[in-house]
Symmetry: C2
Subunit: 457 residues, 2 copies
């Protein structure tokens, strides 16, 4: 390298825009428990133009670059090496425009999900993507990982809420597609290329997101179901009966429900004797209207014997108690060391997959505990396996992932591939798919500077 | 060329699989009124493997290929030259699998939209994409054009209903991504690349589509609105109040409504004295429930003075009469020669755009008639301009399209670019966007064999 890259970077972003030495190693390379960050420098551009100049410089000098958003990703996608330069979007946190009439919001990529949600609420609108890490996760990171979260059933993943993007390519070219229209069939839909590509094709600098009307009321029920087949029939019934109002259909297998409700902090609203429990939530015009719709639905479901028992919550506190069961991650920690898997499957294949998994686990990890819950409507299962030592993680990964391939399942419903799931990508993708991905990577980033070693080698 | 391409193609697909001479020129190169098809041959593979062999052969011989679906496209995307080979999917019309429980359907690309809709209805489910050309348009063509249609507001465009794709690339490689899961963040989302790329990046051979629960009831109203700003407030109110149930929000400008209702076949449900009319439709669990919800909404809208008058239809025949106004294309033909434009705009920019357009038209085409209607919720306007001679089409195109660029509008909301809109693509796309599109094209089809000369040169 002919230039001193740190100096040249400082020339572009100014001294405030660059961190080196201890300022780098103080940071973690991901969510809690991740290793210390290693990099030549962390560059913090304040504008797209600065980032463009940074990337031009890096491109000229064959300098690899890893992008940092809120560092809440769960697959090691933001891990860097001592040879990398890190680009952090932390100084690009402006909300550029809120258009109440068109119901769009334009933001820089470093804006946190929570700030964005709050800005939408400030004009009585609603940004539907939501996830636990909302306070740190950035809109750029959400886009790069196509984040899902709690409301996918009704509103889709991040992909479905993005109208426009501005991206800086590996060579510094700025591609601005900041469209604010919903329908736009004018050539290739370039947004789609960058959404979910985990920072390997370009760095997202701005986005136009679509806002929705804020739901004014909701209703929540917990029901018990005796048979897996009834789950899908119940889902169809609910989607039909609640029309587009159904916002959650969260299934808890008995192993999950019994474990969590065994803790004193929960008063189990239903006895833990059924194989499945479902939280149904509908959002609409008013609490009363939704309560009524849900009540009618539950009546029908009882009549058709799709459910064996039901609690329709009557207050906010009752509602919160039901959700507290579903969200009680602490209860799962009682099975430490635990390993979480975020997979998806065609619904008819789920039960068979879990039966086989249970057998395989019995064989290979006789002491383990399997606990399952998930967004059934999205085909998304959270498989938690407890009491397996950390050093067995790779063997466990194999057992969980290899069964997905013949069933057309996905090794990553939401979190992406990053660094951690890379060895298993071939369980979800064919040779030809992988080689087409590599063709795209080489077309956009021929020197492979962006997030090298992530998704595939 | 060293081989006789016709013979070599016949070796692959058999004599039934190839048309030449008059069998080619008998066909039209598009929808009604299009010119005769010109091509060396029309190849009709019966399987993906045959098509793969066809493409290998063409690739080896630098043979350009244009793909034919149902030939209902409206932008000349399927037009071929005498030097081309045409690939038609007309012998790939099998529905491969219907999975009621997972609510997915897998079909070959030549299946018509209507057959697909009917197959879904056969198991009491629903494929939401719908458009007038359903009897001829194919699912492959819908995917290639990312077709929209009548229910985008609620269910999105074709893109939003496609879970998996199988595609044959320019060199004959088969990329199979026939995933049946909704959430799948495993590397680049290759589907997205092909959806909407108008046959320039690959030939779609199979698709997995997502089915939805069939709505069991609906309600429809026609309302009069006095102020453009009230339209967007009404839309927000309706989306909130009807929750996810709102399935149509079709706006007719006065020029449209007065023209159509001036024909005796319509009894205008509301007098033609307001600047705007909206058809509101909601779909849900039962006619009664939806009727009630819509009635409450109309009450609120009247109270907030967002609407000045309303008719809530009370029977199927009343409902059909309202829709007959919106769908009366014949009435528009009274303004022949007419020119239709399918554009989209951020909602706040619409009124200004139309005012300017009206002025420009007055200046350049003083005798013309401007008639506007559209899917306001999607930002999509249908602009119909009548009484402009066919030979002035290019000048007219300029007037309509050039105003969109500064407003962030799109010259094609639904129909694509194809051959016809190619000269105007730069009004919706920047230099850098176009050059990124070309990078993608060259990466996937370096010899530029697929649909050459479409979208861009
Ligand atoms: C408590 C918790 C709950 C979670 N719940 C969910 C959930 O329900 N659903 C879900 O999908 N995920 C969930 N996640 C995962 C995580 O929050 C998401 O992946 C999030 O989208 C990451 O955003 P981030 O800004 O933190 O990105 P980072 O972690 O900083 O980066 C993630 C990846 O995106 C790249 N990247 C970041 N910013 C950019 C950019 N501007 N341009 C290009 N590439 C970029 C990085 O290089 C990396 O590969 C959860 C995480 C935690 C810790
Ligand atoms: C009466 C009428 C109403 C319409 N209404 C609407 C509407 O509401 N919304 C809307 O969006 N469109 C509408 N259209 C346009 C048209 O129906 C759609 O564009 C449709 O999706 C085209 O499908 P097709 O099978 O006829 O494709 P074709 O016309 O045969 O082809 C269209 C384009 O797709 C390519 N193509 C076709 N099949 C494949 C394949 N298997 N693989 C790769 N490329 C392929 C072709 O090369 C061409 O570029 C309407 C058309 C008519 C005639």
């Amino acid at each position: 390298m002919t230039v001193n890259i740190q100096e040249a970077l400082t020339d572009i972003v100014g001294p405030k825009g660059i961190l080196t030495g201890e300022d780098v190693s103080q940071r973690l390379d991901g969510w809690m428990g991740a290793p210390q960050c290693q990099a030549k420098a962390i560059v913090r551009p304040a504008t797209t133009e600065e980032l463009s100049a940074v990337m031009k410089l890096c491109h000229q000098n064959d300098q690899t670059v890893t992008t940092h958003g809120g560092m809440t990703g769960l697959v090691g996608g933001a891990i860097s090496s001592p040879e990398d330069v890190v680009v952090s979007l932390e100084r690009m946190r402006n909300i550029i425009e809120i258009d109440a009439e068109n119901r769009t919001l334009t933001a820089e990529a470093g804006v946190t999900l929570q700030s964005l949600q709050e800005a939408a609420e400030g004009i009585d609108l609603f940004y539907p993507v939501d996830l636990g890490a909302r306070g740190s996760a950035t809109i750029g990171g959400n886009i790069a990982t196509n984040a899902g979260g709690n409301r996918v059933l009704r509103y889709g993943m991040t992909r479905d809420s993005i109208l426009g993007l501005e991206v800086v390519l590996a060579d510094g070219t700025v591609v601005s597609s900041l469209s604010k229209v919903i329908k736009n069939n004018t050539g290739y839909d370039l947004r789609q290329l960058f959404i979910g590509s985990e920072g390997t094709l370009g760095i997202v600098t701005k986005a136009v997101v679509r806002l929705r009307p804020k739901p004014r009321g909701e209703a929540t029920a917990l029901v018990a179901v005796e048979d897996f087949n009834h789950l899908t029939r119940l889902l169809s019934l609910a989607e039909g009966a609640l029309s587009g109002g159904l916002s959650s259909f969260e299934v808890m297998w008995n192993d999950f429900y019994s474990l969590v409700t065994s803790f004193e902090r929960h008063k189990a609203p239903l006895p833990a004797s059924s194989p499945f429990y479902v939280i149904l939530e509908t959002q609409g015009n008013s609490d009363e209207a939704e309560q009524e719709r849900l009540e009618v639905l539950l009546g029908e479901a009882l009549e058709q014997e799709l459910i064996s028992d039901a609690v329709l919550t009557q207050s906010v506190s009752e509602r919160e108690k039901v959700w507290a069961i579903r969200d009680d991650i602490e209860a799962l920690l009682s099975l430490n060391p635990i390993h979480g898997f975020d997979i998806s499957l065609p619904i008819p294949a789920m039960q068979g997959y879990l039966d086989t998994l249970r057998q395989d686990l019995d064989q290979h990890f006789p002491d383990c505990r399997l606990v399952v819950f998930g967004h059934l409507g999205d085909g998304n299962l959270h498989v938690i396996i407890g009491q397996v030592p950390m050093e067995d993680k790779k063997r466990l990964d194999e057992v969980v992932y290899r069964g997905l391939s013949p069933l057309g399942g996905s090794i990553s419903a939401e979190h992406g591939i990053g660094h951690e799931k890379k060895p298993y990508l071939q369980y979800s993708r064919s040779e030809n798919e992988l080689s087409l991905m590599k063709t795209l990577k080489l077309a956009l980033d021929p020197k492979q500077l962006l997030n090298r070693g992530k998704i595939f080698d």
